[in-house]
Amino acid sequence: MPLPTDQDLVTDWKSRPAPLLPLLHAFNDRDGYLSDEALRAVSQGLRIPLADLFGTVTFYHHFSRFPPGTNAPRVCTGQVCRFAGGLELLETMRKDGATPMPCAGRCDEPVPVLTGRSVQVGVTVGEFESRPSPLPVANPGGLEECVFAAIRNPGNDTLEGYRRAGGYSGYEGALGSDPENLLTVITDSGLAGRGGAGFPTGVKWRAVREALNPRPGDDTRAGPKSVVCNADEGEPGCFKDRVLMDHDPHAVLEGMALAGYAAGAEIGFIYLRYEYPETADILDRAITEAENAGLLGENILGSGFSFRIHVRRGAGAYICGEEGSLLNSLEGKHPFPRERPPFPVTHGFENRPTVVNNVETLASAAAIARRGAEWYRGLGAGDLAGTKIISLSGDIMRPGNYEVPFGFPLQTLLNDWAGGPRPGRHIQAVTMAGISGGFLAKEDLDVTLDEPSVRSKGSMLGAGGIMVFDDSRDMLEVAHSCMEFFAHESCGKCFPCRIGTQRLTERLAGAAGPGVLAGWSDEVEDIGSVMKATSACGLGMAAPLITESLMRYFPEQVAAHVEATNS
Amino acid sequence: MSNPLEDMSKPDVIFCIGTNMTECHPVAATGLKKAVARGAKLIVADPRHIALAEMADVVLPLRVGTDVALLLGMAHVIDREGLVDEAFVSERTEGIEAFREHLARFTPEWAEGLTGVPAADIVQAAVWYGEAERGAIYYTLGITEHICGVDNVQSLSNLALMTGNIGREGTGINPMRGQNNIQGAGDAGALPNNYPGFQAVTDPAHQAKFAELYGHEIDLEKGMTKVTALELCGDKIRAMLIDGENTVVTDPDRSHCEHALKSLDHLVVIDLFLTETAALADVALPATAWGETDGVCTNTERRVQRLRAAVEPAGDARPDWWIVSQIAKRCGFPGFDFESAEDVFNELCSLSPIYAGLDWDVIDKGEFHWPVPERGHPGTPILHQGVFENGRGLFRSLEYRDPAETIDDEFPVWLTTGRRLASYHTRTQTGRSHGIDYLLPEETLEIHPDDVADWGLQDGGLCRMTSARGSVEIKVAATNRSPRGTVFTSFSFNDTPVNYLTGSGYDPVTQTAELKVCPVRLEALPESL
């Protein structure tokens, strides 16, 4: 079959929703990179100014403007992969044109290497293999689970398998009754955003339902409400959404359709991180199955409700996990965060009311719709409702995803469920919220896994990624690589984050800054304080938790670092 | 313009015809681009694929000179599709019945035959404009510089009247004026048919008014237009004063124009430079330039604004008003004892009903759009609100006419002329400003790449372009901006004096020259092969 022409590609995509990213990917898949001619064709076809398009393309890590582009391997150099030899692997593969990529969400099975549309894992050249992402082990505490309850069933990733465990029964039930009933169940369940922000899901859905439809004649806002599934799992040390999508894709689709029905939306997008190409295929397959079964599409099951879901792949930008950036990216704009308010519930995709939910939130909603609010509330410890997936990685015997009740003790997870540190080592520190919660160490490792407890230590639970560092690790080096990640991923919109992440990285590298501890600390604290107070989005607010917690728990290591810088 | 510039960002549908606004009125075009960014629909009718066409929702690439046919086709569709604003039409217009009858035969398919624009696009444009809550028309010299310039304007007026797109915010019929004070020259009475403030010279009441003011009764008949005067130089016209115009280069049929000025007994030219025209003068007088001159100008939206001097005049240069007044005094004419620009302007205000509410101090901040009929009046940003000055809006039943000359075996190519962003008129100013040459060092003839090949020309090579009146040598530039069979250049560069070729005809009413249409033939020059 001859390769599609520029015009074929443009024609294929130009009248579909959110066409820019998939059209760029289509060129990228064809050529391996985005040529000047490709950009000109896209610019003309989608009527995006060329300069604008050029700038936007250069924003994304994985879009290459020159060959070999995506045909050359990208090696994960995230924190855990570094421990597994990722940097050395990269060096040996440089001759093949290999380049580094930030944490690619395979910390349970390092090191992922991405070439074209395929991920392989391994630590030695010649011994890579492609394999499905690891399933969670059976719940070590024997506790009842929500999102992992059926995930280990063989065939659960097919419609048939999913149905066997009761899949889509909640949805079918909801479609037969007033959306108000569904909203009540979700609200009463206490389900809150599992991407990190923790906003009550029922309140969000209701807000979109009640948001005024854009006025007819208001050209820029006319059109349907939307549901966006945030599957841009870019937080280092987080890989929970991947396992849900890979092994329980219909739960995500069901959750989205439920959100659509409750909120009065007609169109859904899954914004999937670039580094999960196989997941895109799994989701596409599941969508086709659901459409063929009449669960998605027009007038679903005769209810009058219509809903379609589109998968849109990102292109390598952590900031696109921030909902404003994600929406801008989806719309084909420069992926800067948006000022809030207004919030997506009134001004989301294409400025229309939009539900933006995390993968885990939506999968939970599907289970709640089936089993009820009471059931879900009961899964949490004490007064806390429900469960949370924790992605555990680093210096721990059994890394992987664990579904824990809210309020579960961290030490129990680390030592009882996950087998504790390597023999002869003890745990020096862990990160929280991927790396966005900074470090916990020493006596603060006694937290329970819920926001009130973790936040009381100046950190946060967030999306639930926890990386473990034993006493063999140089915490300055860890802090530096975390800050380097933030600097690499800072979008450049707001001054405190753009300059602050750079200056903190330089100071953690010993590349610049005062050589006296007092002066060094003053600068680092002032930068951190201005970032936390004034940054335009969570990235800039979270990054200084790294330096803050580093200086709190490891003052001697900091003093030695400054001393070494000075000499 | 019937509406102010700030209205340009407000329409739902914008119809631009014969205006290359992004090059000729770039700042005005920014308003239009904002409207488009906001979601307004843009219809662009132009023979060339200009920058505006790139932004358009529908492009109507009509053959040069067929505007009336296109607009008749659109009017037909508006009527046929029931998009006539009946309330507006019955309240404020007359002649719709006859007009409707007239329109019946001008189908979009008929218009396609003349214009070359697909009928479906004509229908689309008409429906959008007809359905618009706020539809606005913008045009420039692409409408007026034709033998049927008046018909073109009246055809646009028909569309606006049918649809009620006039007299409201974000609507209107909006010609963009080309020169900084071309509107003001008219306001000030430099017209053969009007006293200051557009008071017709043929009205005996006006004659009486000015007789008293100027001390003598003035002809009740209109004066000659410049075009006629140039025709009659050396015959009826013997002495001429030309202020700040490089007539020789800007006007059509350059040979004729040079010959005319040379035939005068006496030519006085006031200008900043010794232009091609000043070089023919018996007396050339140095005027102060912009930046050296206090005064007043009126922009395209009828806004009256102050010019202020920032530097001393060059050498012995003097303001135009001083020079003309001095000549008048030395002729022994009374009433020229002005001591300042302020004196002159205030006298103008005292004579002009549309300036009655203005004086030198009142216009300091440039807030007023004329007419300002009395002191304290807020000015009139939007004309024709509620009522037309002359009563009811009249529909005119027009017929398409061919241009003065059409292509044939001898001159098989349409030449159309215009302007470019980086040069202004004959470059007396832009050509003497540092850096402009970097953007536009020379003039070229824009030709469709396929025509370049078919006609044996070479991109970047020289060709000779010849019309019935003359010929020039010019460099070829292959570009898709030009449609097949039509070529384009500007008249700005004296070394490619394209106005030796133009001048095929004039509008019978306004005597505006048909600078937009001129059949030519092209030959590759041997040295470029």
């Binding site: 800072s490 405190p496 004034t534 | 000015f210 003309v324 807030e367 505006t512």
Partner: protein, 369 residues
């Protein structure tokens, strides 16, 4: 400035103890500035990425203010006023953040002080650095932005070493000019202002309107033509007038030093242009003081050539020629063409010359060509 007490107000906010009413959609900053302009106590909230003509952006965070009930300060430029908001615009904490931000900004540039000929807003960073005493040298590190010395265009200096990534140029080019020529390449600290494919301005969608130059707060984009006059002695003075080119009638300020015209800047409050100009209005002004100007009256001599002479001689000869024509060929043999480029006073006196002197209407202007 609209009247703050007008009927369109929808509520009021308290800023530093004062109740200020607002209209629908106004941001905290807009409300505060509008009231400040009326009250004579100008709003002191500092900004760097703000241009009142552009959509709120919220990049520089200099304008953050404390909002009661909000954990973090909010960007006043982007936050819409809501009835009952209580705001403190310059607490010690907020002022400290502003100073830190400015010190960080100063640390990324080659220099803070630039020639005011650079552009209309070019002194904004310098003025804030002075106000907050931010040239401390703290936060040293890598500089951002890479200048494009290779771009030979004569109008716009692209000195990105001075760039602070406020994106005012990008936004003004898109939102005000509608050319979308300028874009943002890369991200984070590596952000670079550029154009399509990193080329020269001439090969891009740039029309050299100069709006980016005039909104740049650091002189990173600067008026290369004006900067040729850096060495001319004297203070810069500005004279408000109207552009000499097309019929749009843009308001401009002519910049002079002594009797030298050294530049043009758009009037941000110009009623027809609101700070916009095109390449001609912005950059094609120096014909005025060009050597080739006609500086003295000329008359044609016996030799058929034009020769310089005095005004007296020239004016007498001019007048005599018209009188001779009238006397020999009648009053209708005299004709005048007024200019479409000279002011009203020229057109008025010219028509009066014909009408009051020759009692005819043989007067026209150059609008027919």
């Amino acid at each position: 400035m609209s009247d703050p007490s007008s009927e369109t107000t929808v509520g009021s906010i308290e800023v530093d103890g004062k109740n200020l009413n607002f209209t629908a959609g106004e941001t905290i900053l807009e409300v505060t500035r509008r009231h400040g302009a009326v009250s004579g106590e100008p709003c002191k909230i500092p900004t760097l990425c703000y241009d009142e003509r552009l959509d709120p952006f919220g990049g520089c965070r200099m304008c953050v203010v404390e909002l009661e009930g909000s954990h973090n300060p909010v960007a006043s430029c982007a936050r819409a006023a809501e009835d009952g908001m209580v705001i403190r615009s310059s607490t010690e904490a907020v002022e400290k953040h502003r100073k830190t931000l400015l010190e960080m900004v100063c640390s990324e540039n080659r220099q803070v002080d630039v020639d005011p000929l650079s552009g209309y807003a070019s002194q904004e960073l310098k003025e804030l650095a002075d106000r907050y005493d931010a040239r401390s040298g703290r936060f040293a590190g890598k500089k951002s932005g890479k200048s494009r010395e290779d771009d030979p265009n004569p109008f716009i200096l692209r000195d990105y070493d001075q760039c602070i990534s406020c994106y005012r140029c990008v936004r003004v080019c898109a939102e005000q000019e509608g050319d979308y020529a300028i874009s943002v390449k890369g991200r984070g600290f590596d952000t670079q202002i550029t154009v399509e494919f990193d080329g020269h301005l001439k090969d891009s969608a740039c029309t050299f309107c100069g709006q980016c130059v005039q909104t740049c707060p650091t002189g990173a984009l600067a008026d290369r033509k004006a900067l040729r006059h850096t060495e001319v002695p004297g203070e810069i003075e500005k004279t408000r007038t109207i552009c000499t080119y097309c019929g749009v009638g843009c308001s401009v300020d002519i910049l002079t030093k002594g009797d030298s015209m050294v530049g043009v800047q758009p009037a941000m409050d110009g009623p027809a242009n609101h700070g916009a100009l095109c390449v001609k209005g912005q950059f094609a002004y120096d014909f005025v003081q060009h050597d080739e100007r006609l500086k003295t009256p000329m008359i044609r001599g016996e030799d058929g050539e034009l020769h310089p002479t005095s005004w007296d001689v020239a004016l007498d000869k001019a007048a005599q020629g018209f009188l001779d024509a009238r006397d020999k060929h009648g009053r209708h043999s005299v004709y005048a063409v007024a200019s479409g480029r000279a002011p009203h006073e020229a057109g008025y006196t010219t028509q009066k010359f014909i009408r009051s002197g020759f009692w005819s209407n043989h007067i026209d202007n150059c609008s027919r060509a």
